[in-house]
């Protein structure tokens, strides 16, 4: 076990930058976003970024391959390669979202684009000692700290960050001379601080939620809850686990020469389910809001025995109409 003085975090980032691309929370005006670290950017660890880290694994628009037809031959050029990088400052809730996306993009129909980016990314996580309004991660059996899932976990213990590696990649990072040996007392301080943080987080009772939802499909609850929804994509686009997409081909006129692009899409848009003939199986806000809740709290649990939500609170904090997923869950209860 090692530790690093807080004042050396900057040096650590600069050191890592030599071998990796760094993605980290950066302050822009009054807001904080995960972004690729530029030369003038400083890592900001005091609040969880507005955007979730998913955009670095499932980009908003991702060219899957380029295609070309010459004579009678098709040529496909996949766009798979990714660079070695470090996601620095990811909080435990977002680490859990990646573990869930691993399940979803793996299995029988593996997503090679996701896998490539995931394998090339080292996760340097920070325990979350300052949970924000709307956070409810402990409801999912997780919490402000990690036992695994990241490569390295750093926890604020005062003047230092305690450093606990969970993988070889993590061990490699703490070999740097910037780290010092930690003591048992440091570990104790960490445990106490995590416990304190846990107490600050709202905990929901999720027992039997999937079973309850099974009988609520036609309930009038969904009419009531969805009235204020404005059908925008904030909840789903900021969500670290929402992964739905649309695939489009863009080409040049009169030739077979173009790109296939995967773009974010959302069950909140009417166009997501609108069929070519004009029919829409999820025609109103009621069906769409219900889908969001069912996907996270029934369909994903049915399939993966895990909830499709990690309690990061982004949808709660940013919904312009004040829709609160925690309140919806307690109403289902």
């Amino acid at each position: 076990m090692k530790k690093i003085p807080k004042s050396r975090i900057k040096n650590l980032v600069r050191e890592l930058e030599k071998n990796y691309d760094i993605i980290a929370p950066v302050r822009t005006g009054e807001r904080v976003f995960f972004k690729e670290l530029g030369p003038d950017d400083e890592v900001y660890l005091k609040s969880n970024p507005t955007n979730s880290p998913k955009e670095f694994f499932l980009p908003y628009s991702e060219v899957l391959f380029e295609f070309k037809k010459t004579n009678d031959e098709f040529e496909l050029k996949p766009n798979l390669e990714s660079r070695e990088r470090i996601l620095f400052g990811i909080r435990p809730c977002d680490v859990h979202s990646l573990l869930l996306l691993d399940l979803i993009s793996g299995g029988e129909f593996e997503d090679p684009y996701y896998k490539e980016k995931r394998e090339k990314t080292t996760l340097v996580s920070f325990s979350c000692l300052e949970p924000m309004d709307g956070c409810f991660c402990t409801s999912f059996g997780t919490g402000p700290s990690l036992k695994d899932g990241a490569d390295l976990l750093l926890t604020d213990i005062g003047d230092y960050y305690l450093a606990e590696p969970f993988t070889r990649k993590g061990e490699k990072i703490i070999k740097s001379k910037l780290f010092e040996n930690a003591t048992k007392r440091d570990k104790k301080i960490k445990d106490e601080r995590i416990k304190k943080a846990e107490e600050k987080i709202q905990k929901l009772d999720l027992e039997k939620i999937p079973e309850k939802l099974a009988s609520l499909f036609d309930d009038k609850l969904w009419d009531e809850l969805s009235k204020r929804c404005i059908s925008c994509a904030i909840c789903t686009y900021l969500c670290p686990t929402c992964y739905c997409f649309d695939v489009i081909d863009e080409g040049k006129m009169f030739t077979v020469d173009g790109k296939r692009i995967r773009c974010w899409d959302t069950c909140m848009f009417p166009s997501f389910t609108r069929l070519a003939g004009g029919e829409n199986p999820r025609a109103t806000k009621k069906e769409r809001l219900r889908q969001r809740i069912y996907h996270k709290f029934k369909y994903i649990p049915d399939r993966y025995e895990k909830f499709g939500c990690v309690g990061c609170g982004r949808c709660v904090r940013y919904c312009p109409a004040g829709i609160d997923i925690m309140e919806i869950i307690s109403q289902i209860k």
């Binding site: 822009t28 005006g29 009054e30 807001r31 976003f33 507005t50 955007n51 908003y60 628009s61 309004d133 709307g134 009235k227 204020r228 404005i230 059908s231 925008c232 994509a233 904030i234 686009y237 900021l238 649309d246 489009i248 863009e250 692009i261 773009c263 974010w264 848009f269 166009s271 709660v316 940013y318 312009p320 109409a321 004040g322 829709i323 609160d324 925690m326 309140e327 307690s330």
Partner: protein
């Protein structure tokens, strides 16, 4: 404000009881204390209606899907949007009962909202009933924020907006929260012909945002809903206020003020107008 809240509740109850309306659109508190739009349809719902300094949502947007036998709580800005919706034939005056409420400016975390700082229509411009005392209006909006960016050279302005727009995630919250974005088929999502492509392209983000700025020209009332909704903090009001300032200078028109005055883009006379 407490007294006004009681009056709103009482009036809502009466309107529902006498079947004058089927729905009252107002505000309530969520379990966690966040103020949000509320839709009262039953008599007992009316007790949940609140009125305080956090009622910032522009409720007029909900009239687009609740057009008949509806009552709505309207601050100055909401009332101006309603006026524009009537003017553009999106709703009928007689189908909406407007509960006007004067407003001294809404707040967030104890701070007056940016649009409220320059609002000159704190009293509703159109209503069926006015609840609460009329408040004093503040003098002329001198568009200082707009003048500041106008004074920058083209390259700098371009750089500023490029930097702001590149954060856009195309969540459509700015459009969907806007009462004046009522098109059934929005140009920003149209596939045939396609003006803006589905993938997020840096060069198209200007088009995306400028289309909205032009389309709300002459009807944006600076309620600030879009800017507050934007999850990535794009200063949308600055963009729309620039357009509003131009509309004022070119057409001598201000959105949401006079029901009889024709929208600027339907009445201009290119041949006889000196400024044009």
């Amino acid at each position: 404000m407490e007294k006004t809240q009681k009056e709103i509740q009482k009036l809502a109850k009466r309107l529902l009881k006498e079947k004058k309306v089927d729905l009252v659109i107002g505000y309530e508190k969520s379990e966690s204390g966040k103020t949000r739009p509320f839709f009262a349809t039953k008599l007992e719902d009316t007790d949940r209606l609140v009125w305080d300094k956090s009622c910032s949502n522009n409720l007029a947007v909900y009239l687009l899907e609740n057009k008949e036998k509806v009552a709505i709580v309207a601050k100055g800005c909401d009332s101006r949007s309603i006026l524009e919706l009537i003017k553009t034939n999106q709703i009928k005056r007689d189908d909406v009962f407007i509960i006007g409420v004067p407003c001294n400016g809404m707040e967030s975390n104890g701070k007056l909202l940016e649009n409220c700082r320059v609002c000159r229509y704190r009293n509703p411009v159109i209503c069926d009933v006015l609840l609460g005392e009329k408040v004093e209006e503040i003098p002329e909006d001198n568009y200082e924020d707009v003048k500041e960016i106008e004074s920058l050279p083209l390259e700098k302005r371009l750089g500023f907006w490029k930097n702001e727009f590149q954060r856009c995630i195309k969540c459509f919250a700015c459009r969907n929260v806007c009462p004046m974005c009522y098109c059934d088929d929005c140009i920003l999502e149209k596939k045939d012909p396609q003006w803006v492509s589905k993938p997020r392209k840096k060069e198209e983000m200007f088009l995306f945002h400028l289309v909205r700025a032009f389309h709300t020209a002459g009807s944006c009332v600076d309620c600030g809903s879009c800017e507050r909704a934007c999850p990535v903090g794009i200063p949308l009001r600055l963009l729309y206020r620039k357009v509003a300032k131009d509309v004022k200078e070119l057409f001598d028109y201000e959105a949401g003020v006079d029901l009889k005055e024709k929208p600027p883009l339907t009445k201009f006379d290119l041949e006889n107008d000196e400024k044009l």
